[in-house]
Amino acid sequence: MTRTTSTVLTLVRRALLALGLPAVLFAVWWFATAGSTDFYVPPLSTVLGKFGEVWTGERLLSDVVPSLVRLSAGYLLAVVAGVGLGLVVGTSRVVRDVLEPVLELFRAIPPPVLVPVIMLFAGIGDTMKVIVIVSGCIWPILLNTVEGVRAVDEVLSDTCRSYGITGPSRLWHLTLRSASPQIVTGMRQALSIAIILMVISEMFAASNGLGFTIVQFQRSFAIAEMWSGVLLLGLLGFALSLLFRFAENRVLAWYHGLRRAQRNP
């Protein structure tokens, strides 16, 4: 009996801690803007009202979905290409030495400046946006894969060799496995770059998409609609990072377990 009460109490405490501040902040925003006559800061109630109105109807299909499709296409392509190239570059010392400075230069170019350059080649269609996302996301994945492949444990590598594990199975069971924590780190960095590039490529030149629509709202001074778009982008970023963490916990469960075991022997 007492045990259940105490678990209930911990749960309540946890919920209070997790939800307390967000609730307070929400309330502050709600009441501070409740009677707002400031043109730029409409009442939160209005913004939330617009949110349902703007984003659940036709726009969901015409703007939100295309944005998400471009985002996932670009991101997945970047992951495949980045890991593939990373494996090639990482396995050979010579290739790595030759390419490293070049790759570092490409990585250091702020990805948004690629938008005008890629527009030259690919116009302003979907292809341009996907290429922009790929060309910005690929570097952190590629370079982290290279680092991960480079740091494969020597003993494991020798063991694989002694057991005659070569070719694809060596690649899959040894190289990719041991590089995966690094690859996931690169993928996490790439995800936030992907969102940025999705929005920017649409703000720059597009006829649909989230970034485009939000800028249209801002230019036509549809302020409440614009705020609802900002909220939607925020929620999207949050949701994607949750999704990523969920996937990471599943894929890297072995690694996190190993780290825990190493820390408290």
Binding site: L17, A18, L19, L21, P22, L25, Y40, R93, V94, D97, V98, L99, E100, P101, V102, E104, L105, F106, R107, A108, I109, P110, P111, P112, V113, L114, V115, P116, V117, M119, L120, F121, L143, E147, R150, E154, S192, I195, I196, V199, I200, M203, F204, G211, I214, V215, F217, Q218, I223, M226, W227, G229, V230, L233, G234, L236, G237, F238, L240, S241
Partner: protein, 282 residues
């Protein structure tokens, strides 16, 4: 990454390290930089040759010599240097504000367990919000002023620093903390002598990440909002069809990015010269 791998390459070749036993005609320390130089030269040659083939039109990808020419002209222009100054001002101010705010907030939140528990969910929610979402807000509030650049830069860079500082404060060795308590160090003393040295490596990582993110967001603000700076110059060159100039400016931003990376690494090394991770490498 660059310096780390370059510096690491020298030490990796100890006995048993990768390639340790192989004989080399050239001194080991020289091979890696030379290969890197070959890679960069190869890139330049490729960029010079590609536009002359039917694969890529020279209208879209000018030969490297044309880009170099445009770069040379660029360096002679006052407008370019003003733009570079604008970009660096936005970057530096934004980074400074974000680092100070992030470190102070991190220390305050990190040293009070209750505060950490209360703010955790809010931080996890606010952090992944892409700061480009704030572009329309920045435009409405500040137009193309410096402040609109700063809003984006500070928002993006602040979380990088804060999260690292919090991670660092959590890493404090309980034995060291208990010892400090037994010696009756006050809150300030523990922050200064126990928490700060533990958190410093994390802080430096945060600053390094923030420096890169701040540059990206500065250039983004200039490109999309039209605030004066290198990003704006690129947008102008692109709309006026000056393709080699676009490439020259992109190259400048890349070099700027590499320089910022190298500088951040150097600062990290200096600030952490006493720390294990650096001493082992050096």
């Amino acid at each position: 990454m660059l310096t780390k791998t370059l510096a690491g390459a020298g030490t990796d070749r100890g006995p048993g390290g990768p390639g340790g036993g192989r004989s080399r005609r050239m001194p080991a320390g020289l091979v890696t930089p030379l290969r890197g130089l070959a890679g960069l030269t190869g890139l330049v040659v490729l960029l010079e040759v590609l536009p002359h083939t039917p694969l890529v039109s020279a209208d879209y990808l000018p030969p490297a010599s044309k880009t170099a020419e445009a770069l040379w002209q660029l360096l002679a222009e006052d407008a370019f240097w003003t733009a570079l100054g604008d970009t660096l001002t936005g970057w530096g101010l934004g980074l400074a504000v974000a680092v100070v705010a992030g470190v102070v907030a991190g220390i305050v939140i990190g040293s009070v367990p209750l505060l950490r528990a209360v703010t955790a969910s809010t931080i996890e929610f606010l952090r992944p919000i892409p700061s480009v979402a704030l572009i329309p807000v920045a435009v409405l509030l500040y137009g193309t002023e410096l402040r609109s650049k700063l809003l984006l830069v500070v928002y993006a860079a602040f979380w990088q620093v804060l999260v690292q500082v919090l991670a660092g404060m959590q890493d404090v060795d309980p034995v060291a903390d208990d010892t400090a308590r037994s010696y009756r160090l006050g809150t300030w003393g523990r922050v200064r002598y126990v928490m700060w040295p533990t958190a410093l490596p994390y802080v430096m990582t945060g600053v390094r990440l923030a420096a890169t993110v701040a540059l990206v967001l500065t250039i983004t603000a200039e490109l999309v909002i039209g605030a004066p700076g290198l990003g704006n110059q690129i947008a102008v060159a692109q709309t006026s069809g000056a393709v080699p100039r676009v490439y020259a400016l992109v190259l400048v931003t890349g070099v700027l990015g590499v320089t910022i990376n190298l500088m951040a690494r150097a600062v990290e090394r200096r600030a952490l010269h006493w720390h294990q991770s650096i001493r082992r490498e050096g």
